[in-house]
């Protein structure tokens, strides 16, 4: 089939209107999960069908599109979604965070600060932060409506009583504008403080058929206890490639003897630092 057989960005115009309405409603009520009629996409659930639909409804022919998966531009998920929109929307794509106008992400927020001319689209597997505490959807909706969020703290309490600290390290629940408790998708809690940003943030959950959103400069507070405050933890190392000490690091096992290295998970950030002449300390095979 030729590319012309698709409407711009794969979805038909009526569907995109429907999704845009959900996005606008989500922006009007920050943190509220708006139900939408999620479509079958030509990729399996769990591969970012929610994010893809939000991106499709957001993209215009002039946009520059970037996709990251766990911070990287070159992993399977990122490559296939980027190719998908290259083919169906014929938009320009980039790996440069600053040059992109729409960024679809899985599990990370880019290290570079985003501006007010950018949109960040998250892929969300489970939008309901209370899901594993209260299985009934009717009940969780009521709890959101009545702001009954004591249960969320029960989870954090259990964490501390088991581990001595809040051990939740990703998908760390946040409260938006002192109202809705929201699942920030499985980003590391290191990224939570970055959510108060000047770019628009849109969250799409395809299988669960929910869209939610954060307008620019929205107040986002990570839940915690007075005597166990929120801590955006970070591995106590520098990137082995670019030497960055402020980025989120991936631990990479490099041999069978327990040798490992830490590298930036944001590949674009790391590459740019290397191009600027930064270098890290290369670890030898037997270093711990």
């Amino acid at each position: 089939m030729s590319e012309q057989a698709y409407n711009f960005a794969y979805l038909d115009e009526q569907t995109k209107r429907m999704i845009r309405r959900a996005i606008l409603k989500g922006l009007a009520i920050p943190g509220y999960q708006v139900p939408f009629a999620s479509r079958e996409m030509p990729m399996p659930y769990g591969w970012g069908t929610g994010g893809v639909q939000v991106s499709a409804a957001t993209l215009t022919p002039d946009d520059v599109f970037k996709v990251i998966d766990q911070g990287a531009d070159d992993t399977t998920n990122a490559v296939s979604i980027r190719k998908f929109f290259e083919k169906t929307a014929d938009v320009k794509t980039t790996t440069n965070t600053k040059a992109a106008s729409v960024i679809q992400t899985r599990h990370r927020i880019p290290e570079d600060e985003l501006g007010d001319d950018q949109i960040l689209v998250y892929q969300v597997p489970i939008p309901e932060p209370l899901r594993f505490l209260e299985p009934r959807e009717t009940e969780t909706r009521k709890m959101h409506a009545l702001e009954e969020y004591g249960l969320m703290h029960v989870k954090l309490y259990e964490d501390i009583s088991k581990n001595g600290r809040i051990a939740t390290s990703y998908a760390y629940p946040v409260k938006v504008e002192d109202r809705y408790v929201m699942d920030p998708s499985p980003i590391p809690k290191f990224d939570n403080p970055k959510m108060e940003m000047s770019a628009i943030q849109l969250f799409g959950a395809g299988r669960e058929q929910r869209i939610y959103a954060l307008p620019p400069y929205t107040k986002v507070v990570s839940l915690d206890f007075e005597d166990h405050p929120f801590d955006p933890s970070r591995a106590p190392h520098c990137c082995s490639i670019c030497g960055a000490s402020d980025s989120y690091l991936d631990e990479v096992i490099i041999n069978d003897d327990g040798g490992r290295m830490f590298v930036c998970s944001d590949t674009d950030y790391c590459e740019r630092r290397v191009a600027e002449g930064h270098t890290g300390v290369q670890v030898s095979g037997d270093a711990a």
Binding site: G150, Y157, E158, S161, D224, D227
Partner: protein, 256 residues
């Protein structure tokens, strides 16, 4: 004195079957009221209607709230009623697993109500949980165990601790000793009696066990076929039952 809870001609039908019909009574602060009757007599329907779990067909349930004074709980907004049911009210289920979160530790179970009303200090919550576990005779070193690892009697005591931690003023109990063996029942009753007296709680206890009301209740209501057939002081009703059904009930108890 203003009654803490005032029930006025409360009725609930299930189609053509009567749940409870035209029940009225006043409960004063510090008073414990027992409701007895055989299975199907409408005891639990009445209790659930009062506690807001079921919508009655007609009648009023007026509760003397801390802030606004007497208010009809049936016409309250839902947030208000739910707030009431996790602060001033408590509900002890017959089966502890209905009232507990089985996949959350004992400490988390006790702390949930505190966190629900805005407590955000881990050490405080933990401290209160330890205190309450000891008050219901659960050892402190079980605080991080899940209720699934507890015996039936311990689960029931944990449920009571979880309910009383916010110092409610009114406790609804639905067969709190049902399904427990007699020695465990005796300890639980002893514990309940102590807590009710110490905290000055008002309580409504539904049971079919006359020994329970003899020990705990100040006043007694006997129900049959959805109607209240007799009510009065506990000792008076049990020692000198007037209605034929009350007489049958009292004489049915095995004397050991």
């Amino acid at each position: 004195m203003i009654p803490l809870l005032s029930v006025k001609s409360l009725s609930k039908d299930y189609g053509t079957n009567i749940g409870c019909s035209d029940v009225s009574f006043d409960l004063y602060p510090g008073e414990v009221m027992g409701i007895v009757g055989e299975s199907g007599s409408g005891k639990s329907t009445l209790l659930n209607c009062m506690a807001g779990h079921l919508a009655p067909d007609k009648g009023e349930v007026v509760f003397d709230t801390r802030v606004d004074g007497p208010k009809d709980t049936l016409h309250m907004s839902e947030p208000e009623r739910r707030m009431l049911s996790r602060t001033d009210w408590a509900f002890v289920h017959q089966h502890a697993r209905e009232g507990l979160r089985m996949n959350v530790s004992a400490g988390g179970n006790v702390g949930e109500r505190l966190m629900a009303v805005g407590s955000r200090n881990y050490a405080d919550i933990r401290g209160k949980a330890v205190d309450w576990l000891s008050r219901v005779e659960i050892s402190e070193n079980r605080i991080d165990d899940r209720p699934t690892t507890f015996s039936g009697g311990m689960q029931q005591r944990l449920q009571i601790a979880r309910n009383l931690v916010t110092s409610p003023r009114l406790v609804f109990m639905d067969e709190p000793t049902g399904g427990l063996d007699v020695s465990v029942q005796a300890r639980l009753l002893d514990l309940l009696r102590g807590l009710v007296r110490d905290m000055g709680l008002s309580a409504i206890i539904v049971t079919h066990d006359l020994a329970v009301v003899r020990l705990l209740a100040d006043r007694l209501m006997v129900m049959k076929d959805g109607q209240v057939v007799e009510n009065g002081l506990t000792d008076q009703v049990l020692d000198d039952p007037q209605h034929a059904y009350s007489q049958l009930l009292v004489s049915s108890v095995l004397q050991v």
